[in-house]
Amino acid sequence: MAILHTVNKSPFERNALASCLRLSKAGSAILFIEDGVYAAMSGSRFADDISAAIADRKVYVLGPDMEARGVAGKIIDGITVVDYNGFVDLVAENDSVQAWL
């Protein structure tokens, strides 16, 4: 099954990102929303983990949440930016949604 994983926590505050990366399978999709978008920034100590995930999973970030936080200009290569319409499309395209709260 194709699963869309959502992560809404800063990786510096909680382990939601780590758990998502540990338990998501190749071919699944990961979307960063809310404070989760900080994981999509280049140059952080989590950037290598994200780049590794991009190799076998599709990684997305919610643009409005990046814009709001002033970090839209620093996105790791290979991450796709979506808006709320794109979020809806991802939910529809995948078989189920798993929130890493």
Binding site: M1, I3, N15, S19, R22, L23, S24, K25, S28, D95, S96, V97, Q98, A99, W100, L101
Partner: protein
């Protein structure tokens, strides 16, 4: 149950528990959904990952006299078998990184009606790869 409910729809549903009990209400209110959900005859499993493993630790005690004054809801996990909730997946790695093993968990069992009501363990210890496979099969995941 609503009359609108389609007859015979059985989905694979997982309750994903990643939070410790008492400090926040998520564990307790997740359990309330599990109990209500048992009446819907779905293919239900629970997963205990990260701090969620603390929910099913042995020896929880919250007595009103000397304790924190909150309801100790840990006995409810022992009743899950009576509700036909018999698949409790616990991620080994989450236990190990917390210095825990299966011996630290409550003895959670169910009686198998297909096997002369033999008592069997409900806890299924799984590796991260095994748990990822189980999660991948789920049609609905409740995360709280």
């Amino acid at each position: 149950m609503s009359e609108e409910l389609q007859e015979g729809v059985v989905k694979k549903m997982m309750y994903l528990n990643r939070k410790a009990p008492y400090g926040t209400v998520y564990a307790l209110e997740s359990l309330e959904v599990v109990l209500i959900g048992a009446a819907f005859d779905q293919d239900v499993s629970l997963a205990f990952v990260d701090d969620g493993v603390y929910q099913i630790l042995n020896g929880q005690n919250t007595t009103k006299d000397s304790g924190i004054g909150m309801k100790d809801f840990s006995p409810t996990y022992k009743a899950l078998g009576d509700y036909d909730i018999t698949k409790l997946y616990v991620e080994k790695e989450s236990l190990e990184e917390r210095g825990l093993s299966a011996d630290d968990l409550m003895d959670l069992v169910y009686e198998d009606e297909d096997d002369d009501w033999a008592e069997k363990p409900s806890i299924i210890l799984v590796s991260r790869e095994e748990l990822a496979d189980v999660m991948d099969e789920q049609e609905v995941v409740f995360s709280f």
